[in-house]
């Protein structure tokens, strides 16, 4: 057995590779626990004038969680941000944005211990 391990390049590679891969997998499992949260965000334009658009967004998750809904322009910078506590019922928020013939990004991220829910979408106004 010892002969095989020391004589074969592949075996020697595996001697290093397997422990490293197992350590990697352990970290992977530790950092990526099973995620049981289901987050649902639905947005609908309810009003539009020359100056602004209004959206009604309903947010629902299958477990109590806390997080926030952010609307950004130019990828990152926020023009709307609201912290939201979700219980078991659906929550509605109204988002009013300046009308610039622009695609805004809406993002939501919610947490409950190791469970998380993420949403991203677009709002055109």
């Amino acid at each position: 057995m010892k002969m095989i391990i020391t004589s074969s390049r592949l075996s020697r590679f595996l001697v290093i590779f397997i422990p490293l891969f197992l350590i990697l997998l352990t970290f992977h499992i530790y950092w990526n626990p099973e995620n049981r949260m289901k987050l649902e965000v639905k947005c609908k334009k309810i009003n539009q004038t020359q100056d602004y658009c209004s959206f009604n967004c309903s947010i629902k998750s299958n477990m109590p969680s806390v997080g926030r809904i952010v609307v950004t322009h130019t990828v990152w910078a926020a023009i709307f941000e609201e912290k939201i506590q979700l219980n078991n019922e659906e929550q509605n928020i109204i988002i009013m944005l300046p009308r610039r013939n622009f695609v805004y990004y809406i993002r939501g991220a919610f947490y409950n211990n190791s469970n998380y829910g993420i949403y991203d979408g677009e709002l055109e106004c």
Partner: protein, 506 residues
């Protein structure tokens, strides 16, 4: 002949780096302004402190010690943005020389030159990050190259230059610690190589000892800074800050394994650009795989395997995925390794049109495809507006269009740079994922910006309560449209040039 080609390569590399600098006069992106805000705040407060109030909302934060460099240069009369710009371009240029040295450990002069040329024009990781504004990581990548060079030299030739190794690690300690993960992958590759080829790991353990010694010296030198800031190191792990990062990286987190692998191998982290150049280089690597199975070349194979696996299983979320750009070093190397003739260099000019995060393409895109940039502005126009702002009273406070926000936030028109360049305060910046600040106050500010965007006359009393004296609207508009401020009795137009507007709150 090779020496002449090397000189030509250096001259052309210099030109391709000076040219975008001449176009921009700065580097783009988010990090430049926000880090310049920190060093300028220290300069005005005359102390290195984690509390940036009243100039910024951060009450405490952790970031890497490089902030000391622009801070020191402020005392020489050089503003932080100029310092950062110079460091960014200089390290990109010097990185080419270091990469050539790495390639020479494996290849003859001609082949190393081919690799270095492809690195310089197509695969320069330092340039890609720096130009896109992620300069702490970009500059740290340059220092990673130094550590890589010395580590490979030790593994292959059993020689090491400890001052250079120290310099490499000290640069990573200064600029961005994520590169320690890159060093870890490199070390795994080196220990695998030594064990497979030489049936021992003695040299690797010696290398680890060298790493430990130079890092210990680096930590001791930086201990006064770390003593102040290390207690805030965990701020980034607070759930609210993680949420911030999650909402930014939301698309990436949802990737399945195939999409994630595609992202790791073929998409640039800076700019998120899918490139057929990365695909072609990867295919070339696969075609030449047999030559990487043994000998010192196998280090590259192990480095590739570990980088891909660790990226797939561990780094795939959040900002750590940027480690994948280290694969570009292999991509540049493999071209020199596979092509015997220097005529392959004639391919490079044609690659200017192929989309990638290369210096060549990005310089071309500066003219024709500015949507790749994050975001793009012409800084000569911006600087004219800055000159005007310098003539305004010192207690002026600016509400800037675009605001700030987000872990990687910059305003669309770089209004946040008003503060480090003129010492005039700005309103509505900042939201970091590595700082503590009053989040409800931050939300109030976002909301005020949104309401003023919809109706410029809505909130004059609130603006005055915040001591806001001016509105700044740059050429890249987001929420604010000048037409709502013009002919509005609440505002007086005081500057209007090159599509830049500054209004005084009456």
């Amino acid at each position: 002949m090779e020496n002449k080609l090397l000189i030509i390569l250096i001259i052309l590399s210099l030109i391709i780096r000076v040219y975008p600098f001449l176009i921009l006069g700065s580097i783009l992106g988010a990090d430049v302004g926000r880090f310049a805000i920190i060093s300028h705040t220290w300069f005005l407060k005359k102390q290195i402190t984690p509390n940036l109030q009243p100039y910024d909302m951060a009450e405490s934060f952790f970031y890497f010690p490089f902030l000391l460099i622009p801070y020191a240069f402020e005392y020489l009369g050089i503003n932080s943005i100029t310092t950062i710009t110079f460091i960014s371009y200089a390290t990109s240029f010097l990185g080419i020389v270091v990469f050539y040295k790495i390639a020479r450990l494996f290849l003859d002069k001609e082949k190393a030159l081919i690799s270095a040329a492809f690195y310089s024009f197509i695969f320069d990781i330092v340039f890609a990050y720096n130009l896109m504004g992620v300069f702490p990581y970009g500059v740290a990548s340059f220092f990673f190259l130094i550590v890589m060079w010395q580590s490979l030299k030790f593994a292959i030739e059993n020689k090491i230059n400890l001052p250079l190794l120290f310099m490499g690690f000290f640069g990573i300690l200064l600029f961005h610690w994520y590169l320690f993960f890159g060093i870890m992958l490199l070390f795994f590759a080196l220990i695998t190589y030594e064990w497979v080829e030489k049936k021992t790991i003695k040299n690797s353990l010696k290398l680890l000892l060298h790493y430990s010694i130079v890092n210990a010296i680096g930590v001791i030198i930086l201990s006064p800074y770390l003593f102040i800031f290390l207690k805030y190191f965990g701020i980034a792990n607070k759930s609210e800050n993680v949420v911030d990062l999650f909402s930014y990286a939301s698309g990436r987190i949802k990737f399945g394994p195939i999409k994630a692998l595609e992202n790791i191998l073929f998409v640039s982290y800076p700019g998120t650009i899918f490139s057929s150049i990365y695909v072609a280089s990867f295919v070339l690597f696969l075609l030449s795989l047999k030559s990487f199975l043994k000998g010192k070349e196998s280090i590259w194979l192990y480095f590739f395997v570990y980088t891909v696996l660790f990226s797939l299983f561990l780094f795939n979320e959040l900002n750590l995925l940027r480690i994948t750009t280290l694969l570009w070093l292999l991509y540049a190397f493999v071209i020199g390794f596979c092509f015997k003739s220097k005529w392959v260099l004639l391919l490079i000019p044609f690659l200017v049109l192929v989309q990638s995060a290369s210096p060549l393409y990005l310089t071309y895109a500066l003219h024709f495809k500015q949507e790749h940039f994050v975001p793009f502005v012409d800084f000569s126009k911006f600087n004219k507006a800055i000159e005007f702002i310098r003539s305004l009273p010192e207690n002026s406070t600016f509400l800037i269009d675009g605001g700030g926000a987000g872990c990687t936030g910059a305003s669309a028109n770089y209004g946040e740079r008003i503060f480090p360049l003129t010492s005039r305060k700005i309103f509505y910046f900042t939201n970091y994922c590595w700082a503590d600040y009053n989040r409800s106050e931050y939300r109030n500010r976002v909301d005020l910006y949104r309401r003023v965007s919809i109706n410029a006359s809505c909130c004059i009393d609130e603006l005055k309560a915040y001591n806001i004296t001016h509105i700044f609207i740059g050429e890249k508009r987001v929420g604010f449209d000048p037409k709502y401020f013009l002919n509005n009795s609440n505002y007086e137009l005081v500057y209007n040039e090159d599509d830049y507007y500054i209004f005084k709150v009456v």
